[in-house]
């Protein structure tokens, strides 16, 4: 499985990095030095420092952040997985989108959810770092599950690799579905899932202390 983990100064994603070591075959770390940060630094300092000094500071900042990114690579490589580092200075959402198109990851892994992630055409795992024993796939309707074959396969792989049980939960009120689910829940006891796999993003379904995967939106 090919995973992409975006990292910025404020978002180090330690949970995602740790989980990726178990889950992924190929890890791509995308370290983004946000251009907005550099611009802000220059804007805040422009009245006290000349442009040449500001340029020198910018170079130092890029060098030290590149070094920081290399350290993430070193730490991830210690686990013996195939890891690649991509260091970019630019607008975070734009850089992320470009790398998704280029690398075509099967899963984007991060520790914190932001709405901007929803526009990305890739399943997103928001990892709370919790221990996962049970995962539940929440679908609109069980009867349409055939249409979700690709998502289902991905989740089977994910749940299999992290060695946890997987269940399906439907939000529809079809009587037959509810009956099936009740029986399903009784047998498997999957209602208290540690990992929610969502076909669509739904704020109500997500508790922040739990990990979740958003499949499509």
């Amino acid at each position: 499985m090919r995973c992409l983990i975006p990292i910025t100064q404020e978002m180090r994603n330690p949970n995602a990095l740790k989980r990726a070591q178990i889950l992924c075959d190929e890890i791509h770390i995308l370290y983004v030095l946000d251009r907005a940060l550099l611009d802000r630094m220059k804007r805040e300092s422009a009245y006290v420092l000349d442009s040449e000094t500001l340029k020198a500071i910018e170079d130092t900042v890029i060098d030290s952040q590149r070094e920081e990114a290399t350290e993430f690579l070193r730490a991830a490589q210690k686990q013996g997985k195939k890891v690649q580092l991509h260091f970019e200075v630019g607008d975070y959402p734009e850089v992320l989108e470009r790398h998704i198109l280029r690398l075509r990851p099967q899963l984007l892994m991060t520790d914190a959810f932001s709405r901007s992630l929803l526009s990305l055409k890739v399943p997103i795992w928001v990892d709370a770092g919790n221990e996962i024993k049970r995962c539940v796939f929440v679908v609109e309707s069980v009867t349409k599950i055939r249409n979700l074959k690709k998502d289902f396969e991905l989740l089977r792989t994910v749940c299999g690799r992290i060695q946890c049980d997987m269940g399906i939960f439907s939000k529809s009120n079809e009587r037959s579905t509810i009956e099936t689910l009740k029986r399903f829940a009784e047998i498997t006891g999957l209602t208290g899932a540690d990992l929610l796999c969502l076909q669509f993003f739904d704020r109500k379904s997500i508790k922040t202390e739990r990990s979740f995967i958003i499949l499509s939106n």
Binding site: L33, R40, E44, Y47, V48, T53, S64
Partner: protein, 453 residues
């Protein structure tokens, strides 16, 4: 800048103008004339611009100078005459001397040797960074020191990647060391000469270079170990020894000797003959940099941050305007009505407000806004010594520890990626609170013992 940013800034600027309009249209309160009312309006206008940065700070500074003639408060000749001030020339000369020091490369050699001495133990190394930033900030602008030292400190911390806390503490130590050190002498920050000049012109009390340092250094000496303890407690390091990095040794160049000698001689002369005029001695130091061939004019053109000087123009216009129109006295009477007449309480409140202001705007801007109010209060309450109030405000203006926007030094060190905003907030809140009490404590004890009040 994106179109969206331009629009936001333009809207913010329009809001700032509307503040002026509100003041213009509102009735003049009892005890305050039209000029005083409009100067308070300009003050709120300035606060809004300084916080939102709808205009670059330097531009805000000169715009503030243009407003009193437009509003009929002052004649334009009078306003622009404010700019011909000793502090401006002290600042320009200090920038020239710093440019010579920077060009010689002596800062790098000194910093590397200095840090080597503090070498292997991480806790002592953090103290070394603090002292390095502070001692350099005695001689030049704190922001310039951060800019000069950041490659050296970043390089030193590159070998300790496993210890995230050490990197955080080390980088924050640079910003804090410079902030604390900047209050130590008149050369550390633009707000220091501004305060001295404002006090001198408003009250006739002249504070020499030596007097400033005698009053400020106790605060520096108390704050540095406290900040160090905060850093090593909040960010406990797990590294036992810092790896020694080998640097190529090169002989000290003639230019380095010349630059170092000029800087040292200037500082000594400022201490001994400061009463002649700090700007006069600083101009001699700047001249020596040319005479000894350390710098040429092109270096000076690149090294002078005009924003600070222009902001200064706005600050002095605001201060003088508020004092002479009676606006500060009117505001001071209002404050006394709410806070009471106890000078010690008033002093404490002023320090707290200045620290809060300096966290959200430029240090110089915060001091520029608070100094007139402080002077107004000391006019209303004679027991509140004018020098004590002014110095307390000027020194508190340097203590922006918690937020990135409070100090370019914080922003620059943050952008290296070594720490996060919440790390700065975590330690900065404590440093701010302790800083407030240290200034207050020194003002109440040491300054009293020195006979300042």
């Amino acid at each position: 800048m994106s179109i969206k940013d331009i629009k936001v800034k333009r809207n913010l600027f329009l809001i700032s103008l509307s503040i002026l309009l509100i003041f213009y249209l509102s009735p003049t309160p009892a005890g305050l004339g039209y000029s005083g009312k409009m100067m308070i309006g300009i003050m709120f206008f300035a606060v809004f611009l300084f916080v939102t940065e709808a205009l670059p700070l330097g531009m805000s500074g000169i715009l503030i100078m243009a407003l009193p003639p437009i509003l009929g408060i002052y004649d334009s000749r009078e306003v622009f005459g404010f700019f011909g001030n000793e502090a401006i020339f002290l600042l320009i000369s200090a920038f020239i001397i710093a440019a010579g020091f920077q060009k010689s490369g002596l800062h790098r050699r000194t910093a590397v040797r200095f840090l080597k001495r503090f070498g292997k133990s991480p806790k002592i190394f953090i103290l070394g960074i603090l002292l390095l930033g502070a001692s350099f900030s005695f001689m030049m602008s704190e922001h310039a020191v951060v800019a000069l030292m950041i490659p050296i400190v970043a390089f030193s911390l590159m070998g300790v990647y496993e210890d995230e806390n050490l990197r955080k503490a080390g980088m924050i130590a640079l910003a804090y060391g410079c902030s604390v050190g900047s209050i130590g002498t008149l050369l550390g920050g633009a707000r220091n000469p501004y305060a001295v000049s404002f006090i001198s012109e408003s009250t006739g009390t002249r504070i020499t270079f030596l007097q400033w340092s005698l009053m400020a250094l106790p605060i520096v000496l108390v704050m540095l170990p406290i900040v160090w303890l905060l850093l090593i407690t909040i960010f406990p390091t797990k590294t036992e020894r810092i790896p020694v990095k080998k640097e190529k040794k090169s002989p000290v160049s003639v230019v380095e000797i010349k630059a170092g000698s000029v800087l040292l001689a200037t500082v000594i002369l400022l201490f001994i003959f400061g009463n002649i005029g700090t700007a006069v001695i600083a101009i001699l130091g700047a001249t020596a940099m040319f005479v000894f061939g350390v710098i040429d004019w092109k270096d000076v053109e690149k090294a002078i941050p005009w924003g600070v000087l222009l902001l200064y123009g706005g600050a002095i216009t605001l201060g003088k305007g508020m004092l002479s129109t009676g606006a500060t006295r009117w505001m001071a009477e209002g404050i006394v009505m709410y806070v009471g007449r106890n000078p010690e309480v008033l002093l404490f409140v002023l320090i707290v407000i200045t620290v809060l202001f300096t966290e959200v705007m430029s240090n110089t801007a915060a001091v520029a806004l608070m100094l007139p109010i402080g002077l107004g209060l000391s006019a209303v309450i004679p027991e509140l010594n004018v020098v004590v109030v002014s110095m307390a405000i000027a020194l508190a203006g340097g203590f922006a520890f918690a937020l990135l926007i409070g100090n370019p030094g914080n922003m620059i060190t943050y952008s290296t990626g070594y720490y996060r905003q919440r790390d700065l907030l975590k330690i900065g809140v404590f440093a701010d609170i302790i800083g407030i009490f240290v200034i207050y404590f020194v003002a109440m004890t040491v300054w009293k013992f020195m006979g300042v009040w």
